[in-house]
């Protein structure tokens, strides 16, 4: 596991009192399978939350509910003051507030990197093309690949692709970022470059929810670690406490597996 060596400035990373995401008693079923059970979670603006848990525990499903890639059946999800109902206007509003990065990047292979980044600003935000491109170049610089702007995704390495995916989300200027195992499809050498990008983002005060097994990352930037199992939040705590002093049996078992590995 890659431990990031970058020294980070925790002082910058402030958590405000404003609530960014509020989830109350959320339940979800796939058919008859109860995949999320009574989820309650409040995320303040600026918080950086890492979600861990064994495979199949519902981590992906939970964060995908937050921008309605999956529909929940009971309970409320309130993002940035907007309640997530089946009202399409609300969904559109929330989706443009919330950026998301996937395990498999999901870049659009038929568009150049630049086009990937400007697509949503132009069509969703109706930004003029020129302005959209400037923004895109700005974020591509931020993730350190401005020189690849005119290449196609297939010509980039996995780590570069994931950084483009992050830049693409950022171009929509979201206030919240969701990450679903952003490094698990990457070769070890590339994991670091992506984590560095994410750390930088965290330093700038972005609200982040991140499903990941990179415990080094969790220790370094998270201000809360949530442990899920069988569709429920089993334990949550500050990283130091979480790793050094897990309370629940399941958490202990999980940590022993993941750290021993």
């Amino acid at each position: 596991m890659t431990d990031t060596a970058t020294e980070i400035d925790r002082s910058k990373m402030q958590v405000s009192d404003e609530v960014a995401i509020q989830i109350n008693n959320m339940n979800k079923w796939y058919g008859t399978f109860h995949v999320l059970r009574d989820i309650n979670l409040t995320v303040n603006r600026g918080e950086r939350i890492v979600i861990a848990g064994p495979s199949g525990s519902g981590k992906s499903t939970m964060i995908r509910c937050i921008n309605r890639l999956e529909e929940h059946q009971q309970g409320d999800i309130i993002v940035d003051g907007t309640e997530l109902t089946s009202d399409l206007k609300n969904i559109d509003k929330i989706r443009s507030e919330v950026g998301m990065c996937f395990q498999h990047f999901n870049l659009f292979p038929h568009l150049t990197i630049l086009e990937n980044c400007t697509l949503a600003p132009i069509w969703v935000r109706k930004t003029p093309k020129k302005e959209a491109e400037e923004t895109a170049m700005h974020f591509l610089e931020k993730v350190k690949i401005p020189d690849q702007a005119n290449k196609y995704p297939g010509q980039l390495s996995g780590g570069q692709q994931q950084r483009v995916a992050i830049a693409r989300s950022l171009c929509m200027k979201p206030r919240i970022m969701l990450f679903d195992e952003p490094t698990s499809a990457l070769d070890p050498e590339m994991i670091k470059e992506v984590l560095d990008t994410m750390i930088e983002l965290a330093e700038e005060g972005m609200t982040m929810l991140c499903v990941t097994h990179e415990m080094g990352f969790a220790r370094q930037v998270a201000n809360r670690v949530i442990f899920m199992d069988q569709g429920q939040i089993v334990e949550q705590n500050e990283p130091e406490e979480f790793f050094n002093n897990p309370q629940s049996e399941r958490t202990k078992l999980f940590l022993s597996q993941i750290l021993g590995h």
Partner: protein, 437 residues
């Protein structure tokens, strides 16, 4: 066990293989006579092949190209070879090739119009370039759009302002759509735009085109649909069917992939019904029934009616090809589009369809080949495709009794078209497989 150790002091160079395994001998041994059974097979095949050639070659190559009629041909045979054996009378091809290729429309009835279908075809090929080859300049898309209107003009003739006004109306339709989509969702804006465009064409086209035509008359001699014949007819039906069927096919494919029950079942039903019946019955519908389904005031052109039905037929088949392309896209593409906040139609247009269509191109090309071959069926309803023309040539007293030469010539022309297209589609498939992704 130090006897085990061995070190080669000197590397061996490549040696030539034994004579029996290389060169002609080696090749023959490996490919034709590798075993007893194989040798027998080779000999039998060779015998079959040679006897086939022996029976056909004299007929083909001793045939004559210079004669005015079949009886003239026969006279020449009698004079030249003495006996009563007949050889090919290729003179009929020389005499009538222009009718078979260009039909009556651009051959005999209107002298000197060969250039129109030729330019049309060249235009179509030019228009296809940006779609088929990824690396040519994007400017050629203009040619693609233009050829949609110029090709019909070249074939049917008349004033250029007709097609141009239609183009203008369609551009206006796009603006109607843009405008309408500000107020309503795509599913409604689209029909509104289509209806608007149709109304524009219905009301504005004739006066506008008329006015423009009288101001700046640019006209080609007009050719009535039923005079379009020969390979020009086959190619025109094929091209119209493919081009016009694409948008329908895309909608049908999306419909069949859709979660909306009614939309899904309607698309599925349409596709299955069309694919379940032979093309000839649809051609009957076009030439016999279609008139009943339209108001009695509409003056239906049979060639146009056939084109409409062949288009629907093609659309059902291409819809299935595109559905394959859609299904081949990873789910992540849809999710990423959703997560970025694109609407359904934006996602389809910007993300999904460009990729799905690209994967579908080989399938579309092979569908084009089948449609092109199937256009011969129109001869059954008395349209003059190459087979229809060959019939009327054979009923002419000069060439009465000629069969093989005409069929042979038509077959060769079809073969050249279809073979080169199928090679192209194979090439494209390989290109797509190895292309950087």
């Amino acid at each position: 066990m130090s006897d085990l150790s061995y070190v080669r002091t000197e590397m061996l160079e490549q040696k030539a293989p034994p004579a029996s395994s290389v060169g002609l001998v080696g090749w023959l041994r490996a490919n034709l006579f590798s075993s007893v059974g194989n040798s027998i097979l080779t000999v039998v095949t060779l015998f079959f092949l040679l006897s086939l050639l022996a029976s056909m070659m004299p007929w083909i190559f001793l045939g004559i190209w210079n004669a005015d009629s079949l009886s003239h041909c026969r006279e020449i045979f009698a004079e030249r070879y003495g006996d009563s054996t007949e050889y090919a009378c290729w003179a009929v091809v020389r005499d009538r090739w222009d009718q078979i290729i260009f039909g009556y429309s651009f051959g005999n009835l209107n002298e000197g119009l060969y250039w129109r279908p030729l330019v049309g075809l060249a235009l179509i090929i030019l228009a296809l370039l940006p779609i088929l080859y990824p690396n040519v300049p994007r400017v050629l898309y203009v040619a693609t759009a233009a050829s949609l209107f110029l090709y019909p003009w070249l074939i049917w003739g008349g004033s250029i302002w007709g097609p141009l006004t239609i183009a203008l109306c369609i551009i206006a339709g796009v603006f109607i759509y843009r405008f309408a989509s500000r107020f309503m969702i795509m599913a409604f804006a689209m029909p509104v735009a289509i209806v608007g465009t149709a109304l524009l064409i219905y009301f504005a086209m004739a006066p506008v085109a008329g006015a423009l035509g009288s101001a700046v008359p640019i006209e080609l001699q007009s050719v009535p649909s039923r005079e379009i014949s020969g390979f020009v007819l086959s190619i025109t039906i094929g091209i119209v069917a493919i081009v016009a069927s694409l948008p329908i096919a895309v909608l049908l494919a999306l419909g069949r992939q859709s979660d909306l029950f009614i939309v899904n079942k309607l698309s599925t039903g349409f596709i299955e019904i069309i694919r379940g019946v032979p093309l000839i019955t649809l051609i009957f519908v076009a030439t016999v029934l279609m008139k009943y389904f339209l108001p009695s005031s509409v003056d239906l052109d049979p060639v146009l009616a056939v084109m409409v039905l062949v288009t629907l037929f093609t659309a059902a088949y291409i819809a299935e090809v595109i559905r394959g392309g859609l299904a081949a896209l990873p789910k992540g593409q849809y999710e990423a589009a959703d997560a970025l906040g694109l609407t359904y139609w934006q996602a389809q247009r910007l993300i999904i369809l460009p990729q799905a269509l690209k994967i579908s191109i080989p399938g579309i090309v092979s569908n084009f080949i089948s449609v092109f071959k199937d256009t011969t069926l129109v001869s059954i309803v008395a349209l003059n495709d190459p087979l229809g023309i060959s019939d009327s040539i054979r009923s002419d007293s000069d060439w009465n009794g000629i069969v093989w030469e005409l069929y042979g010539f038509i077959a060769i022309v079809f073969w050249l078209f279809c073979f080169s297209m199928s090679r192209y589609s194979l090439w494209l498939e390989r290109q797509l497989q190895t292309g950087h992704r």
